[in-house]
Symmetry: C2
Subunit: 248 residues, 2 copies
DNA sequence: CGGTTAATTGACGTGAGTCAATCTCCGTGG
DNA sequence: CCACGGAGATTGACTCACGTCAATTAACCG
């Protein structure tokens, strides 16, 4: 059903991302690449990689594509709680808990590696740099989650949307997905609404305001940030919480 | 300055909490108790245990008292992103990142154990059950953070405040801090506002509504939940995300 | 060319914020 | 014993950012 997966080096974004956290050893990289090769999968847009309530027994590392983590209330209200980008891992450790407390849906076609728990534990145990890098990634993901709470709780709509765009820009940058000041942006206004806690209508108007000030161009799934500095100021954005800087 | 700390068994809430995640071994408990004894500290209400931007080099395990994690925007807006209760650990692993991305403030007098990184790593390495339990605790904390995003993003004020009360109730229960249907509740309306993304005035009115429906009594730092079932229904609350059930 | 999903607009309603005054505790000092 | 001050809780009046509803347009796809 799926075509064979044979692109040049699928593990590239993962390695770049983890390397930004901790210098990976040659050995660690090799082990990781092997594990990824052994568990390649694909998902289609709209497909759920995991659903709230599902048992968890493996870790997924995203190689290409965009996804989102989301939760749904009984009456249908939906909140996207995070985006998942290439190089991110889904639940590097949620498997310590038995059950998913949220769902993970693909926004685009997605390639990922599914690593079963035993293989994953072996991987962690076999290389220290890899273990630390993966834990770091998990910690950063928590930090992002905290910032989202702040974003939704204390920023007004314009700041809020601007902040989300800044975050995505900063996260796409280190994995080589920013071209100049532009990037693919496969997020519908409905997704943006569910991610920011706003209504679709208001997101639409907010985007128009950002466009109107010449800060961004967003059309045809392509985002261009004309004035990053000003966008960050608008959003009260500081990248510190992304912990991108390598540390000693 | 501080009186000596010699209460009966300070480590009790920690052990209860971790045991709810993973059955701790005798050995693990002993090691943990020793580590806690070696690093006892106190903090006073209003004091910050850590401040955004601080370097991190130790783990703090809370033995008694309430704290909150919070972030502040440049113009003073504040968002509490989580409460920290006895048995919780502060950043069991944020120390993998070099710098705090948020602050941690004491709401009440607090007793905690400060365990330096080397001692903490040794602790984790020496007992498997302890290591897993502490990672679980970290994962649950992430799950809570996600639920807060949903709470603030998609629930209306009444649901939102009710949800927070339900969560705190469920978290206080396993550490023995619920007496009947009541508990100490040292959280001001200003704190509640900063935790729910509402204004103080609106929190006040929302509490009155909850009181008016006979769901809760809240006065003199004492919270009584008269009708937990109904409060949960009001909040669209499900405790699943707290992953309290032990698993096999 | 229909059918669908996403984006956009306008009109209107409202939940929640802001401002500002008042009230209630408390602890402190004279 | 009481004036004073400060923190927290409470109220009322008013405002507005954002939501809802509903219709229209644009883009895409077989």
């Amino acid at each position: 059903m799926h075509p064979p997966i044979l692109e040049g080096n699928l593990a590239q974004p993962v390695i770049r991302r983890l390397n930004a956290m901790r210098q990976l050893s040659e050995r660690g990289i090799a082990l990781l690449q092997q594990a990824i090769q052994d568990g390649l999968h694909r998902a289609r847009p709209g497909e759920d990689l995991a659903t709230e309530g599902d048992p968890v027994d493996s870790v997924r590392i995203i190689l290409s594509g965009w996804l989102c983590r989301y939760k749904t209330l009984a009456d249908g209200r939906r909140q996207i709680v995070n985006f998942v980008l290439p190089g991110d891992s889904c639940d590097a450790c949620v498997y310590l808990l038995s059950v998913m407390d949220h769902s993970i849906g693909a926004l685009t076609p997605v390639t990922y590696a599914d690593i079963k728990r035993p293989a994953f534990e072996q991987l962690l145990a076999s290389d220290r740099s890899l273990e630390e890098a993966l834990w770091c990634e998990t910690m950063v993901s928590s930090a992002i989650q905290r910032e989202w709470t702040v974003n939704i709780g204390r920023r007004v709509a314009l700041e809020r949307v601007a902040h989300l765009l800044c975050e995505l820009y900063e996260r796409l940058l280190p994995i080589g997905m920013i071209d100049g000041d532009s990037c693919l942006f496969p997020v519908t206004q409905m997704d943006l609404a569910d991610a920011t806690g706003l209504s679709v209508v208001h997101v639409n108007r907010t985007l128009q305001e950002l466009r109107g000030s010449g800060l961004i161009v967003l059309r045809d799934r392509m985002l261009t940030i004309n004035d990053l500095k000003l966008l960050k100021d608008t959003a009260l954005f500081s990248a510190d919480y992304l912990h991108t800087k390598r540390h000693g």
